[in-house]
Symmetry: C2
Subunit: 719 residues, 2 copies
């Protein structure tokens, strides 16, 4: 039983009233800059601020600049007239001064949401303007400007043009109407449906603001395992109330559409997308929605996947279903995001191949306002997956990336795992769809195939926990998702640095070591969970902890043995030409590399190849030895992280220091657990000893196999 230091108890309790570091303020803390010279320089460069123009969004700009400057620097006054070193925000339409600067050409280049931050002069006075074509761009620019101050960047001569590379930058909340969150580990759903629409929780505003600060412009507030009731008038009124809160922050609301809603909600006898009454029902429903929410974003749909209804129930194609919905929302400029996460245990082919097989033939048959939403990899958000073969395979259709921020497979909210590295690996991988340089990112942002419509989604890790994400460091994944959605060319490291400086401190003796911790955290987790391309060996249903032994279930593709295929000869899923040939779904150069036992990167080895226990790998170790080496190194790395974290005591607030400390303790124990359970289990196939020097597990395999967690969070309890 853990005894918490009394000092900690005393210091962190008693509901601090000032500058609580409970994580609620995320990366928007705006605390007084304590570096005197930095503060002095800023104050010299900022004599006052003005926001010209009146609109709900510009009011938010005003509030943000005021609270930001006041918090960071103390009393920086709002001024009515330009004097030297004033910050001025507005659009050419809202501000005569900005209009007179004749920036239209530059602004048009930046598109609807882009912004310009420019140090210039006006009537001889130095002026820093934050401007854009539209108010929301000014809001984005304001957050960017304040971030410069938060991160102690120079501001004396700014010329920043920034516009998002991807149109739709969307969170997906797998929130149910009973407020449970599927695969949610940060408490429960933010949306208090019972009290909506009349009671507006202040948290809705804070949520929208946090998203605006990182350029997220859309949110799907319901689970992809959808519930038709959200489309009822009773709930639409509540959704509209949320939309009203989000709108000035530039955040559109979307809903998941249950394909069978015409039956469940409409009382029709069918949901056949080619049935005129069904089509009309959706048209009428969409019209109803837009009468309440004029800028409703559209629908996200999971169909004919894991039991969800869809067009295939009526022997129709995905495109038939998607097009019907797309036609309904098109008159209102809505979109349909149709998920490609499909796999069927009755289809006797490698699960990794099925989405491609179902969707590629439909390329070119989808309406213009449809995006096909594709998970980063072909299985399901495993700690590491090669990029999905659909990227690059459907040039006529906008493909929307779906990343997972919530750590369903990477430790829930007790493991510190900075996922930006995982996102970048995927985004930067080259599909070779149109020769070298056809990165996944270029597919997603539309540049490879010349699509105007582009999108990226993050399955949210946000809930009612005070710090929004459960683990203090999980916030960084929300932050990084927003930053990469805006600009996928940013590096994971630079984003981590931004976040650390804003969220904790600019002090290098904290930022540097912690940045390194974050930068290594994903590979460490891969190492102690699913090294060398292993995947899908987690606990049944709740996905908590290791369970590589799962077999003999009603769906083979939900077992673990399906994926690791361990036997006395070796381990790994042969997806090469001699196996399922999933590699053939990739473009030539990629297929060649993945399909080749020698060329395949070892990080994907067991994803594509069945490898003998005794085969030598690049390190000189046998596969078995390497497997053990990875598992043990991953767990050891966690110990080192703990030790490193402990040296940072006193460099940040005690509250979050201690919280992370406690969580690292859990993470280390769970890393050991993963290591032991997996090594012991795979050993039953390899028949080989755990290499010398690696501490033998202190429990037997049966102990791990007996563990039960009927109330692990994120899924309905297992009775």
């Amino acid at each position: 039983m853990k005894k918490l230091p009394l000092l900690f108890i005393l210091l962190v309790s008693f509901m601090p009233a000032v500058h609580s570091e409970d994580g609620y303020r995320l990366w928007l803390r705006y605390d007084r800059i304590n570096d005197k010279s930095v503060a002095a320089t800023y104050k010299k460069n900022i004599s006052g601020w003005m926001v010209q123009g009146n609109s709900p969004t510009l009011s938010l700009v005003k509030k943000e600049i005021h609270s930001g400057l006041t918090g960071l620097l103390g009393n920086i006054p709002e001024v009515k007239a330009v004097k030297a070193s004033v910050i001025l925000a507005g659009t050419p339409q809202s501000s005569e001064i900005i209009r007179n600067l004749n920036l239209d050409t530059r602004l048009q280049k930046l598109g609807r949401e882009g912004f310009l931050i420019l140090t210039t002069t006006y009537q001889g006075k130095k002026l820093t303007i934050i401007t854009a074509q539209e108010d929301v761009g000014v809001l984005y620019g304001t957050f960017h400007f304040l971030k410069l101050l938060q991160t102690h960047q120079p501001i004396n001569k700014l010329d920043i043009e920034s516009s998002p590379r991807i149109n739709l930058r969307v969170l997906n909340h797998w929130d149910n109407l009973d407020r449970t969150v599927e695969r949610g580990y940060a408490g429960f759903s933010l949306w208090d449906w019972h009290k909506l629409p009349d009671y507006i929780d202040p948290r809705y505003h804070d949520y929208a603001r946090a998203n605006a600060s990182i350029g997220i412009n859309g949110t799907v507030v319901t689970n992809v395992n959808a519930n038709a009731r959200i489309l009822s008038p009773y709930y639409l009124e509540k959704v509209a109330a949320l939309a009203d809160v989000f709108r000035p922050y530039g955040v559109k609301i979307y809903l998941t559409a249950r394909f069978s809603a015409p039956i469940e909600a409409g009382g029709l006898k069918t949901a056949d997308p080619l049935d005129p009454t069904v089509q009309q029902w959706w048209k009428d429903k969409v019209k109803e929605i837009y009468s309440l929410i004029p800028d409703f974003g559209g629908f996200l749909v999971k169909a004919n996947s894991e039991g969800q209804p869809g067009p295939q129930n009526y022997d129709r194609h995905h495109a038939d279903g998607a097009n019907m919905l797309a036609d309904a929302v098109a008159p209102f400029n809505g979109v349909v995001m149709w998920r490609a996460f499909v796999y069927d245990e009755n289809v006797p082919d490698d699960r990794a191949k099925q989405a491609y097989n179902e969707f590629k033939p439909l390329d070119g048959t989808f309406r213009k306002n449809i995006l096909i939403q594709v998970k980063n990899g072909a299985i399901d958000f495993q700690p590491r997956e090669p990029f999905h073969p659909m990227f690059g395979a459907m040039p006529q259709t906008p493909l929307m990336m779906e990343f997972q921020l919530t750590q369903e497979y990477t430790g829930f909210s007790t493991h510190l795992v900075y996922l930006a590295n995982q996102f970048k690996e995927c985004l930067d991988d080259d599909t070779y769809a149109k020769g070298k340089g056809s990165t996944v990112a270029n597919v997603i942002d539309g540049s490879l195939d010349n699509h105007q419509l582009s999108g990226i989604a993050g399955v949210a890790n946000i809930g009612t926990d005070r710090n929004w994400t459960g683990h203090p460091f999980a916030q960084a994944n929300w932050y990084a998702f927003g930053r990469l959605a805006w600009d996928h060319q940013l590096s994971a490291q630079s984003i981590a640095e931004e976040w650390l400086r804003m969220t904790f401190t600019n002090a290098p003796d904290f930022v540097n070591p912690v940045k390194e911790i974050m930068d290594n955290s994903w590979e460490t987790t891969v190492s102690y969970m699913t090294p060398l391309g292993l995947h899908h060996i987690m606990g049944w249903s709740h996905h908590f902890g290791p369970a590589p032994w799962i077999k003999d279930r009603h769906r083979a593709d939900w077992t673990s043995v399906y994926y690791h295929q361990a036997n006395k000869d070796g381990i790994g899923f042969n997806r090469s030409a001699t196996g399922s040939n999933a590699v053939a779904q990739y473009a030539g150069p990629v297929a060649e590399v993945f399909g080749s036992r020698e060329q395949c990167p070892e990080k994907f080895l067991l994803w594509f190849h069945h490898v003998g226990w005794s085969e030598k790998l690049k390190s000189g170790r046998t596969l078995w030895e390497e497997l053990c080496h990875q598992y043990y190194a991953g767990a050891d790395a966690m110990k080192a992280v703990q030790q490193k974290w402990n040296t940072l005591e006193g460099k940040i607030d005690r509250e979050r220091f201690e919280q992370v400390k406690m969580l690292l303790d859990i993470q280390y124990k769970e890393a050991i657990w993963w290591r032991n359970a997996c090594v012991l289990y795979f050993q039953t196939f390899s028949g080989m000893e755990i290499p010398a020097g690696m501490e033998k597990p202190d429990k037997a395999l049966q102990y791990y196999m007996n563990l039960e967690f009927p109330y692990a969070p994120g899924i309905r309890p297992q009775w």
Copy 2:
């Protein structure tokens, strides 16, 4: 759709970093006293503070005095030696100064938890001491002293002796292991089992502190619809971690015991309390618990009620079951709180009579460390119920009151209902069990029947919502429960005043009108929900909204018609001698009054009598007219409350002002809903017109009957 004032949006968002009035700080805000003369007087009387002694609890005392005095008055230093006007806290054991004051006689009178606050002199210097026999008493005294400051009471000459009238002052959390809260409307369960025991959420400390501040000394952290898994080693370790947090605050932890745990958790074939293996299993399990939690409080048990297992499954009595558990915990000074909330649809008698019938014959057969926990009334926490006939009927057995703080039947967390008036009505009612003056309170506190062991429980309204209770004013019910548990002779009004002053402001132009709102709120709610003794006419399963039409269900005693018995002749449940004769369960004088059509208080009329629609009541109105009058008056009263609240704008923080405003809007709409649905429905029996002057409902009865709320909070969703 409600459009929130933009000003509100701006003012309450942006995650304020200082003195946030989001309700988290409850009544323990310790903000600077802004009344200059009050503050000056206090500073004159408090030159410094000392806490003598070292223990976890005294460390909390130190912290509380420091933060309280600093917050309220500014820099009041900790001193090492007594000088004039110092506040000194400690026990005679921990403080030589206090020991030398020779207060033992007075302290012994105060018992284990009582405290003394005394202005005295020591070596010629004026000294205010806060002392007690035990550290926890000093903690209670400290909170009391700080409350004086918070409420601007004089402190120059204090002589306060205070000790609790009831031993066990306990919260019952109906929290499930999946973190849903049965009948919970304040978010979800505070206990993050997945992260326990290693991760200690700071909120656990804040929870314990809040309870300590109102003298609550125990908490049952699991649902009475119990889950045996809490008794597994995996969970006991987590419970122990919570117990460790609570201990220094004087809060003991209890668990609900699922009677069938020997089978479910132990693998036994039976749970028969007379079976030696079962008895041994419980003994072993209890021993295991106490090895982890040395001061474990004991068990709360719901048995043979609403499907829960119990001794009657084995043809044993309640006492057989309770005694078995009591014997197991007795060696460790534990108790068993055995609930009397029993009723069986197969027993062909008035539900209101069944608990008495089952338990009274067992009086005298329970072990000494058992309390029988009895709801305030004989049905189930209805807005108003006459006191439970068991009070006064079991003189040989300590009866423990069970009040409901969570507003299962009084509007969830959207209705402002100050329940202290309801508690007081019950506590002050005279059972006449031993003649006049045999109040329910005297039964509960043990004084009537000379019991040492006494207890009172409140079904908690606490959850993960930022303000703990959902509705800002629901906090007052938690507060009032603690105050009445300590001293049931306090008035509801004085408690409300304390709470308002501490939670909002001392300004009379806020306190006075709001106190009045609170004081009338319960009767108002009774009036628009269940006037004149009506009861149990709420929505099916979720209990949300009115549904007096419920009939023809698998259990008659879960319908509404069972309770109101409306027909063309009249309405009401005849519990008099000509009916079920439930009145005979009361002592003579009470039975006579309740059983008499003329003498029965009209507030209970339809609880005890079936009354004709045309019968005249005291007001001169017919029953039908009075019923309408009550419903309409209740709804009208809500409108007046709204109007009164609006006049208070600017007197408190905008954040909570607006939150309450939004909630009052909901409450008023729901009051209209109750009024309309009930009046229209009962009209189908009376056949009479709604009296002139009362606005006719704008919807038909069928509209109300068609309303569905499958995701109303507090219960598993209805599909």
